[in-house]
């Protein structure tokens, strides 16, 4: 549970390499961990973006967006996490899908990496599309490129790649050629919804990786429930990957706002802590 390396990747993106022999040995692409920063802390899920069996480490990359992730970002190399459990969730179903498009947005690009690598190893031909608000937030392009035959980048402000959304190149690609075996997308909910809406019209199988609010991560609390094709599923044990055409994104977006007022309250606490 010891953080052995910390790296500042971009604006508010931080990378930790954490010691954990057993998780490193067992984790598969798409699986996640749940950690606590301190005894009073929340349990938050984060995708495992890399493992090193020899060094007995796992890697996480997270965006400091809320109270707990900001608190996490204040830990340094050598610090201990209060708790760390994993690997949780089902692994991404990896096989040779033929031609695959992987789409990543923001911190989701980091989460895309292990899956892209596994698809490549399984024989898929990968086209990748990376998106971000601005150039700095399109992270790890070199690493993703390593597994890709083709890569497209979009930014909101046009500071890198084309100005626009990931769905712009995606639309062009699938309009030209419908023989894609899979589109795999991980990023903010509106992006995953937009990608799913687009591919639905072309009937291309689409997997999205959801990051619901969780507590135990073993199917016990049901806090992470999501409606899939009209049926309630638990992201922690039935996911985190689901068929994007079946996800009720509107409901999920509302559910992710459950604790917004608490979050504001907690942020005041963080400001006080930092002042001290």
């Amino acid at each position: 549970m010891k953080i052995i390396a910390k790296e500042h990747i971009a604006e508010d993106l931080t990378k930790f390499v954490i010691e954990s022999e057993l998780i490193a040995e067992k984790a598969l692409p798409g699986q996640f961990i749940i950690l606590m920063v301190c005894k009073e802390g929340e349990r938050i899920p984060l995708t495992i973006v890399d493992t090193d069996e020899k060094k007995k480490t796992i890697t996480i990359i997270f965006q400091e967006v809320g109270y707990t992730t900001k608190l996490l970002g204040r830990l340094e190399s050598g610090d201990l996490l209060y708790s760390l459990v994993g690997p949780l969730g089902k692994a991404t179903p990896v096989r040779n899908y033929g031609k695959v498009i992987v789409v990543g947005g923001g911190v989701g690009i980091a989460e895309l990496l292990p899956v892209a690598r596994a698809f490549k190893d399984a024989g898929c031909a990968i086209t990748s599309i990376l998106g971000g608000r601005t150039a700095e937030l399109v992270i790890l392009p070199e690493q993703v490129k390593e597994y890709s035959e083709d890569m497209y980048i979009t930014t909101d402000d046009g500071s890198l790649g084309e100005k626009g959304m990931v769905t712009d190149p995606l639309k062009r690609l699938i309009e030209k050629d419908q023989n894609y075996g899979l589109v795999f997308c991980v990023g903010p909910l509106p992006m995953m919804r937009a990608v799913s809406d687009l591919t639905r019209a072309f009937n291309i199988k689409t997997l999205v990786c959801l990051n619901s609010i969780m507590i135990d991560g073993t199917g016990m609390c049901g806090g992470c429930r999501v409606t899939i094709n009209g049926e309630t599923k638990f992201t922690c044990v039935d996911g985190p990957d689901f068929d994007g055409h079946e996800v009720d994104f509107n409901e999920l977006m509302t559910r992710q706002k459950r604790f917004i007022s608490h979050e504001k309250h907690a942020m005041c606490k963080l400001d006080e802590k930092i002042k001290k």
């Binding site: 609390c221 049901g222 459950r258």
Partner: protein, 465 residues
């Protein structure tokens, strides 16, 4: 023979006006004088029926007699011969349905308050500050893994350690205790009491690993390479929902989530603790069992102005302990009997606003022997609510069984075991508690743990399956 007092020595409680504002325990426990007075009411029957009703076989007249003689140390020793977790059992066991129900005194007077005395003697020992470690059998060199640290897992760990085995508990959460920690609220079973009992188990030499999800981090087969026997006690952790429209609106919780946020994660102390919970003003809890009572009383303590129990049958059919129903009534909970939710309605932002219900009437008895509730057509009505807790039951947690293909499962997803040994279909693997029975009581899980501990011991000695 001196005339036996008809009534139990009452236990002091926090007044309900006071207690609904805090999460402290409601009953205060007996003083030494009160305990001795109550213990002296025991007739010391030659053939005590009470002990026969105890799943873990406590020598009930024996420990009570020692209290009556003011030999408290002797009494706790007697207790711990059979029960490693008396402070927990004394608080949450349904004594009124077991030992106290068959007490000879119960026929004409009030039965002996066995649970209160059990609690007293456990708390007495803790107050002395020197909890005795019982003698252990010589080390056998055999290794046992207990998967889960709820009442069944803790019992097997404690008993097996006393039998000289080398025991490791593997717990998925970051704290021990299972449902005792995440489920049962502080005001009914303080976490410090659970941690005290856990410390006792660990003082017997049991190793503890938290944040260890068996099946994900190591499979049962991998455990069997390392351990001579595996005991699975992963509990009934899959919450049921009703599959009615709107069940995923913000404000609708499973009882597991509601209680876990509050108890395990201490959301009632937000923002001192970081985990939030939506504190409703008008909270409705669906269900009639102990978990429903725990949830509704939690809602009250979190500050709800109106708290309701919504139950589809009538009061007579409620499975909750009488004491819990009584406490909830005293605290001002409103009971809507013969009422079934059929849908939830949101506000414009997707947050829960109203619960639509239908009234029921009771028909013929069903398979459970209770009269079946039948909906009254057209009786729909709406109740304004901002928090709903669904407390209608749990199934055995499917995570470990689904990843252990050669474990035979029952229709409800439970692990099939031999009732007399806890043996599963897989050699070297035992199971017990809610994962085998579906949701039941703490004491029945402990009873199953005892049976399994003896059977594991036998298996480790003989190697016979």
């Amino acid at each position: 023979m001196a005339k036996v007092n008809q009534k139990q020595v009452p236990m002091r409680e926090q007044s309900y006006a006071e207690r609904i504002k805090n999460f402290k325990e409601v009953p205060c426990g007996y003083s030494e004088e009160e305990a001795v007075l109550e213990a002296k009411r025991c007739l010391q029957c030659k053939n005590p029926l009470c002990a026969q009703g105890c799943p873990v076989g406590i020598d009930i007249p024996g420990f009570i007699d020692l209290i009556a003689k003011e030999d408290f140390r002797g009494s706790i020793r007697k207790m711990k011969e059979k029960n490693s977790l008396p402070a927990i059992c004394g608080r949450v066991c349904p004594q009124e349905d077991q030992c106290q129900k068959v007490c000879v005194l119960a026929k004409r007077k009030e039965p002996i308050a066995i649970g209160r005395l059990e609690r007293f003697i456990a708390d007495w020992e803790a107050r002395q500050g020197d909890i005795e470690i019982p003698s252990k059998k010589p080390p056998t060199g055999k290794k046992i893994a207990c998967v889960g640290s709820g009442p069944a897992g803790l019992t097997v760990a404690g008993e097996s350690a006393k039998l000289g085995h080398n025991v490791t508990i593997l717990e998925a959460l970051h704290e021990l205790g299972g449902v005792l920690t995440y489920g049962i609220p502080e005001f009914r079973l303080p976490n410090s009491i659970v941690q005290r009992e856990v410390e006792y188990i660990s003082s017997l030499g049991v190793k503890i690993m938290t944040s260890f999800v068996v099946s994900k981090l190591k499979t049962v087969d991998e455990l069997l390479e390392e351990f001579d026997a595996v005991f699975i006690a992963t509990g009934a952790g899959l919450p049921w929902f009703m599959s009615i429209p709107g069940e995923n609106y913000n404000g609708v919780y499973s009882a597991n989530e509601y209680l876990t946020r509050t108890n395990l994660m201490r959301a009632y102390q937000f923002p001192k603790y970081d985990t939030p919970i939506i504190k409703g003003k008008q909270a409705a809890v669906i269900g009639g069992g102990n978990v429903a009572m725990d949830s509704v009383r939690t809602a009250l303590r979190l500050g709800a102005e109106k708290t309701m129990i919504i139950y589809r049958r009538s009061k007579t059919e409620m499975p909750a302990r009488l004491e819990e129903i009584h406490h909830a009534e005293e605290e001002g909970v409103i009971f809507e009997f013969l009422t079934l939710p059929v849908a939830y309605h949101p506000d414009e932002k997707g947050w829960l606003k109203e619960m639509e219900c239908i009234r029921m009437e009771l028909g013929e008895p069903d398979a459970s022997g209770r009269r079946r509730p039948i909906p009254i057509e057209g009786s729909n009505f709406r109740i304004p609510v901002d928090v709903v807790v669904v407390a209608i039951g749990n199934s055995p947690n499917p995570l470990l069984p689904s990843l252990t293909p050669d474990l035979k499962l029952g229709k409800k997803g439970n692990i099939v075991i031999d009732q007399n040994s806890g043996k599963t279909s897989k050699k070297g693997v035992f199971a017990g508690g809610d994962i085998a029975t579906g949701a039941a009581t703490v004491i029945s899980a402990m009873g199953a743990g005892k049976i399994a501990a003896w059977a594991i011991d036998e298996y480790l000695k003989t190697g016979e399956w």
